[in-house]
Structure formats: C-alpha cells, structure tokens
Amino acid sequence: MVFPIGCLNSQAPSIMASRGGGRGCGRGQLTFNVEAVGIGKGDALPPPTLQPSPLFPPLEFRPVPLPSGEEGEYVLALKQELRGAMRQLPYFIRPAVPKRDVERYSDKYQMSGPIDNAIDWNPDWRRLPRELKIRVRKLQKERTTIILPKRPPKTTEDKEETIQKLETLEKKEEEVTSEEDEEKEEEEEKEEEEEEEYDEEEHEEETDYIMSYFDNGEDFGGDSDDNMDEAIY
C-alpha cells in the first residue's frame, strides 16, 4: 500500500515562497495544507514503501466461511461436472500431437483424430462464412472405390517402389493418372460438400489385425494435460 501523501505533487517553488517558507522542514513540500487531512506538525509518517507488497500478506481478520448446504453442494458438483464434460466435447480442440522421434509401423493405423485437421462436429455451414470451411482431401476413399489395390499407392514415392514389379507397372501408372483426373473433377464439382466421415472399414481392409492391436497405450491418460478435474469428485 503506497501511503497517499507520496502520490501528491510537490509544489512549485514560487507558491511555496509566498507562504513564507515551508512548515515542517523535514517533510516534502505539498500543494495543500496537510493539517486539513489531519497530519499535525511533527507527526511521524510511516516509512516510504520501497518494494512491492508481499505475495501473501498476513490476514488481519479471518475470512467468512463459505456457504454450505444442499444448494451450494449441488452447484459445486455441477460446476465440476461441466468442466469435465466440456473437455470431452468436440469443441475442445487439442493441439496436434507432436511428431515422434522414430517413425513406427503402427503410426499408419493410429486413429489420432480427424483427417486433415478438419473438425469433429458438424456446424451448420449455412450460418458461417464460407472461408471457415476446411477442405478435406478425399484421395484415400476415391482410390478404394475405383480399384482393388493390395497396397494403396499413396504418393509418388510408393509409385516408384512398385516400378520394380514389371507386372503391375503399367497398371499402376494408369490407375494413378486416372485417379488424379478423378480427384480434380471431384474437387471442382463438390466445393460445398461437407467433409466425409473417416471410414475405418477401408483401413481395416489392409490389415489382418483389429485396430486396437495398434493401440500403444500412449493415449491412456494423455488427454489430461494440465487439468485433471474430471477425474475426481
């Protein structure tokens, strides 16, 4: 607490002079008669404050107890439940999982969220500015409906790998170019379409194991971040 006198401005010397010299020479010169606020001559003022007030100043008086009772308990429980509930809703956006040190095979089968950073819920796009819609690449789905590949050729790198196999070389090239054409058409036609739901079934075609096989337990408890409130009480 800064003592209030310290905030008041010092006098200009001319005014001071007209009052016949300062009273109480030990103190600073002030714009008004301090006796008006009750500081008499020679009164010892508290020492100036040289540092910020302590973080946890001692309490002079005990605080009033919090209201208890049915209503208080219920609202408290409600508050904590709400906190937990909101963290589970799709509106709670978690930052992207940071890239790990080594690429793992199971990465391919991790269900770590919606594809392409799109959102988990369906807003009414008619009510929102068009620029907010996130386009979803539909590469995966298109391919599986057109052809029956054993390994879906995701990128040109994969394509290069299969060049070794003479039987599939020509076929792959055909398929890739035809897919690329399809893609372009799709994107032009369906600009306003909402995102497709990520279909687990397609992934499952490629492996003999159920998806929980690839669960490496990382997600367990990992969602808690800083707040663990929903876990308790």
Partner: protein
C-alpha cells in the same frame, strides 16, 4: 477491457475449449475486429487451426462476424459473453429450480453446445433422462417438448438470428458470409413440430464384451438421412432473462431479511388482513433502503419497486461488507458514517465515529489507499489555494463498485490459477488413482472377489489417500470460492449497468 478481465477470459477459454481456442479468442479480445488471415499471421497459428477455433467460438456465441467492403469478413470477440461462462452452473441450477430436471438438462445442453435445434435438444435430453430412469422406463419426447416450450414462453430460451431466405440465389456469387437477422416478434416463436418418440438408452450390448471396435458394425447413418423438420431454426439460452431472475431474487431476499429484522416478534401467518398489508407496505416505502416507493394515492396508493435504488443498495451493502471483513468493524463504522453523511472532514469523522484521532486517520488512509473512500476538494476561494480549501472524505459508490469489480475479476483468476496449480502438482497421483479405479471397475464388472479388490485398492498407500483427500478438499474450496465471487460480480455488474443506462 482491463488486463484482469482479459486474464480471466483467457483462463475460462482455456479450461473449456483448450489452448488453441484460447489463443485465438484472447487475441481477438485484445485487438478487436480482424479478418482471418491477419489473425493467423499475428498469432503465428496455422490457417486451419484458426478456422477450427473460430467455428467453435462462433458456435458458442463468443465471436461474431461481419462482412466488410470488398468481401472481407471480420471477426470480433464478445469479451463480456466470455466472462459469463463463469456463471453457467448458476444458470443450470436456476433452470432446475424452476423447471426441474428436464429444464435443467435443456439449459445445460444449450449452454454446452452454444446453439441447437429444438428437435436435437429434445432428443438429446430425452436420451439423457432415460439413462437415469429405471429399467424399462423411457422419457417421452412430448414431455421434454412441453418443458422446452415453457422455457421459451418465459423467455429463458430464445431463437438465434436466422439466415435470411434468399429470393434469387442465381444472381451473382453467394456472399462470403450470411447476414443473420432476427425479428423481435419471432424471437420466441416455437415452430410447429410433432416430435414423437421416446428416449433411448445406450444399450450395454453396444460395448462388445470381446472388445471389438464399434467400427465393425455398420455405421448408424439413419439420423443424418431423416429430414429435420425445424432445420435452420436454432435456439440459445437467454442469459439476460436469467440475470433478471437473479436480480429479482436478490431484491426479494434482501427485503425479506429486512422484514425479519423489523418484525421478528410478529407471528408469521398467511392470513394478512388488508390493514396489516398496508402497514407493511408503508414501512417498506419509508424504509431507508428505498426499495419500494409510493407513487400517488390513486386506488389506495400505488407501490413501485425502484430497481435502480434497489441495485444501488445491494452494491453499497456489498461494499460495506467488504470493508468490514477486510479492515474490521471500526473501519466499517467510519465507512458507513461517510456513506451516510456524504461528505465529512477529518475532524468530523473523528467526532461522529467516536474513535481517537490517530486511529481514525489510520483507518481513513487505509481505505483511501485502496480506493474505497476518496478525497473531494471544495475550494473556498476562486484561486483554489490549498490553504483555503476544504478536503472532504466521501464515498463515490460507482467508482468504488468498479474498483471492487476489478478486484473480483482478479480474485477469480487467482482462484482458477491456484486450482490448476494444485491439480498439476498432484498429477501423477491423480493418474494413478484413476488407473486403480478403472481396474477396480473392470474387475467388479467381471465379478472379482472381495480379496482381489482389496489388493488393488491397497496399491494406493495411506499417505497417498491422505494427499488425495487434501487435494479434493482444496479443489472443492477453490471452486466454491469462484462461485461465491461470481455472485458478487453479478451484483456489482448489475448496479454499474443500471447506473450507466441512466446517464
């Protein structure tokens, strides 16, 4: 927006929506209206993340958008609305007291989701209520619908602005963003829906015992295929109406307390004769609280509730209470004195309060430095010479209320931070306790023996249990404090708003 308010908004957004939404929201609160790309650039966030965050914020009525010239859409945050998130439990509880569990869940769903169609709300609430009912019983949609309509009729729930119907959508490209409009008379218009159905229980057979993922079952897309009868008609909770209710409650309880003080000796009966009622009202009107005023004598006298005065009294009472609890009862006496007499000189304070000069000075300066009391200069001469000027102590209720409100925001922010800190400190232990509970639950489901359960429970040692107990107590206390401070915030905000309206 003050730093304290921004800080509090930041904590609330982060707790409810995560860091990304918090970053975007706080940025908009600080900078004002901005377009999408500028937000992304200034916050260093990817465009996709900004889009996601804006969708969430708009859905929850925390951000609005406007189309400016050249088709640029700008987004603006509603800081005050963000602060309302602190009050969600109170809104929901109020709905419960007025419209029981059904009303409670309706308001809860609307607050959790920002806005919803009536059919979506009814279905969701019916499902939730069915979960809590005995086996075999279900909640009928009609009952939920009825409660919904009642909430709309009493204005606790209102329509969201609509996308205007486009007459000729072929003329030129569609606008970058719709301009939402709402007609006053449509705000509480319920569409004619015939919602027939019953709530569905989540069947326990859904969770396959073998642990197969749900994806193996054909996706339930039937809900998406059915045409929604009230498509495009969204509803939201009407917070202002709840505030009206809180205000009325506060006034009623203040008056009730007052009546108790005065009439403690009288028998409490409900057969109050006209004469006695007259007496009560006269007393109320004469009461220094000035809640009730008498305006005219026509028809035996018309009594009017003076809302602004009522709010002023409540705010003043809050200030007095804070002074008392912070500085002691003698300070409170001085404070009340200055309030009553409006302006007092140093000497007068000492005399009226009957407190020795030195202590009186000390107390006055303490209150002065914390801005509960202020100094008013009254010059005696036109040249405002300091030696010929009165310096009077006075209480400026509006500025004191603002100061206290600011402190309240800081307090709540501190409470939230402390709560988060406590939880973080014990994160490892909490995770462990969660795991143990999960193990016990699954063992109970598969019918484990008592001894086995005991063994698992002992994985948490006694001191650890103690620690968990302490944590629980502290978190509860901090949460309860937040709720309590929010009540004070509400009173002060109401008073300040009412005062500003009159200016």
């Amino acid at each position: 927006m003050t730093q304290a308010e921004i800080k509090l908004c930041s904590l609330l957004l982060q707790e409810h929506f995560g860091e990304i939404v918090e970053k975007i929201g706080v940025h908009l609160i600080r900078t004002g209206s901005q377009p999408l790309r500028v937000i992304a650039h200034d916050t260093g966030t990817s465009l996709d993340q900004v889009k996601k965050a804006l969708c969430v914020l708009i859905q929850h009525n925390l951000v609005i958008y406007q189309v400016h010239k050249r088709g640029v859409v700008e987004y603006e945050a509603q800081c005050n609305r963000v602060l309302r998130m602190l009050r969600y439990p109170r809104y929901i509880y109020t709905a419960k007291t007025l419209y029981s569990d059904t009303g409670e869940l309706i308001v809860e769903e609307l607050l959790l989701n920002g806005k919803m169609t009536m059919s979506a709300v009814v279905k969701k609430v019916a499902d939730r209520l069915t979960e809590t009912m005995e086996d075999g019983k279900t909640m009928d949609y009609a009952e939920v619908s009825n409660t919904f309509v009642r909430l709309v009729d009493t204005h606790f729930v209102q329509r969201c602005p609509l996308v205007p119907a486009t007459e000729n959508s072929d003329t030129g490209p569609p606008p970058p963003a719709p301009t939402l409009v709402i007609n006053e008379k449509d705000m509480y218009l319920v569409p004619k829906l015939s919602l027939i159905g019953k709530g569905k229980r989540r069947r326990s057979s859904d969770e396959d015992a073998t642990g197969e993922p749900k994806a193996k079952r054909p996706k339930q897309s039937t809900d998406n295929k059915e045409p929604i009868p009230d498509d495009g008609i969204y509803w939201q909770a009407n917070l202002d109406r709840f505030h009206q209710h809180f205000r009325d409650q506060a006034i009623v309880s203040a008056v009730a307390n007052r009546m108790d003080q005065i009439f403690r000796s009288l028998p409490v009966g409900y057969n109050i004769s006209k004469q006695v009622l007259d007496q009560y009202l006269t007393l109320l009107a004469d009461d220094p609280l000035e809640f009730v005023g008498k305006s005219g004598d026509s028809g035996g006298g018309m009594y009017v509730i003076n809302l602004h005065k009522a709010l002023g009294s409540l705010a003043t009472a809050t200030l007095e209470s804070v002074v008392q609890e912070r500085f002691g009862s003698r300070c409170a006496r001085i404070f009340r004195l200055v309030l009553q007499k409006k302006h007092l000189e140093q000497k007068q304070v000492e005399d009226f309060a009957m407190i020795p000069a030195k202590e009186a000075k000390d107390m006055l300066y303490k209150m002065l430095s914390e801005n509960f009391i202020s100094l008013q200069e009254i010059p005696k001469t036109p040249d405002h010479a300091p030696s010929r000027t009165f310096y009077l102590y006075t209480v400026n209720i509006l500025s004191a209320a603002r100061m206290l409100l600011h402190r309240c925001y800081k307090s709540v922010a501190n409470l939230i931070e402390r709560r988060q800190f406590e939880t973080k400190e014990n994160k490892r232990l909490l995770e462990k306790s969660q795991r143990v509970e999960a193990i016990i639950a699954s063992m109970q489901a598969t019918g484990a023996e008592e001894a086995q359960l005991q063994e698992i429970e002992e994985m948490i040692t006694a001191p650890e249990r103690q620690q968990l107990e302490t944590l629980k107590r502290n978190v509860n206390k901090l949460d309860a404090c937040e709720i309590q401070v929010d009540e004070t915030i509400f009173l002060l905000e109401s008073y300040i708003e009412s005062t500003m309206k009159r200016q």
